[in-house]
Subunit: 204 residues, 2 copies
DNA sequence: GTTAAAAATGAATCGCGGTTCAAATGTACT
DNA sequence: AGTACATTTGAACCGCGATTCATTTTTAAC
């Protein structure tokens, strides 16, 4: 007999992140992924059913990790809503901080999977959005957030804004330091753009 | 001799918007576009060099129109910065209000063109972002906007958030009425999520 | 009514790349 | 030091769909 070398699956997955991220799902060639993984073309099919399933696997893994973090934050009863929102934003950014390719994949190829609405990751994705809604709704109930904000729309606003900046950052990390991005997202979403009319200056 | 029937180019372009929007750039088949345009397959190539150039044409047209509106708004000396930002947001939403397919195209396939960084639309795109920055910077100088907001990041935040909601709206117009979206975007970006600590309740 | 040239057609072509599979290779056990 | 069987290989296969082009249709000029 003979045992699978063990790290091949991971090597293929990592290479796929880079190639999908660089060339896009359709531009990515299986042969290239195999090459970057240091593996024969056919070997890819020992670990994944087909091209599509590689992408599905990567997204399922990614969203599962994000989801775990969110669920943990959301259920903490002693955290105030504002901190929860901050931690969720941090959670997303932390996930990509060390891996620009993953960020590009995340931002660019999600539609690829969203289109047919299938796949394991879908469940985590909708769950995440609902979780965000609940946190906002909770904040409103506790009188910390504005009552005229629509929780579902707000969640999408934050998510969309974060995606866009993640994209810019991944394309040119120098021009968009993640720490600045992090700070600005929070500042804007919490405090808004306008200087309040009648109050002492609030902090960012 | 014989003259081109004249409306074929437009019929093809319109069909392309629908098919690209529905099936995505790579899922879209030329034969299908021709069919929906009521034209033979080969005719598509009388009006466009190839598939890619159809997408380029559509984006160039779209961004040109957006850009014209923005440039007009931005140069108005008598408008206050806040109104300018509002008008820019309105400009984007107006463009898609009557055409969900165009919105899907806009949101999903931009990366397709961004990837090789070429194409006529690129020029209008970067110009638009710079224009947004200038408006924000102007607002800060006039003391209307918070000075600690980074204009470039803010522009991307608004743009990303708008894209995401446009996407949700186009997928399910019922669940996300554009008027609500419009109002919420402005409310959040101007006023933020938090209830100000020491002030009379500000308006949305 | 005839002609000439452009416009339109759509079946055939052709290359690309995802997928397969017969052959080669490595490993454990005897 | 050989056998059995799982893993690995990569060249060949095959379908799909963008693009082409020989043929047909339309129109304008005479």
């Amino acid at each position: 007999m003979r045992r699978k070398s063990g790290d091949k699956e991971k090597r293929i997955a990592d290479a796929a992140i880079r190639v999908f991220g660089r060339d896009g799902y359709h531009g990515a060639k299986i042969t290239r992924i195999a090459e970057e993984a240091g593996v024969a073309t056919g070997s890819v099919y020992l670990y994944f059913r087909n091209k599509q399933s590689i992408l599905q696997y990567l997204f399922a893994k990614l969203w599962k990790e994000l989801h775990v973090g969110f669920a943990y934050v959301a259920q903490q009863a002693d955290l105030d809503p504002r901190t929860k929102v901050e931690l969720i934003i941090d959670g997303i950014l932390d996930q990509f901080e060390k891996n620009p390719s993953l960020a590009l994949l995340f931002v660019n190829e999600q539609t690829q999977l969203l289109r047919d609405g299938t796949g394991e990751f879908m469940q985590y994705y909708v769950d995440f959005l609902q979780l965000g809604e609940r946190v906002v709704r909770d904040g409103i109930r506790k009188g910390v957030f504005r009552p005229d904000v629509d929780p579902r729309i707000f969640t999408n606003l934050v998510f969309g804004a974060t995606r866009q900046l993640l994209h810019q950052w991944a394309r040119a990390p120098r021009q968009f330091p993640l720490d600045t991005v992090r700070r600005e997202i929070k500042a804007v979403f919490f405090g808004g753009l306008l200087i309040p009319l009648s109050s002492t200056a609030p902090r960012a």
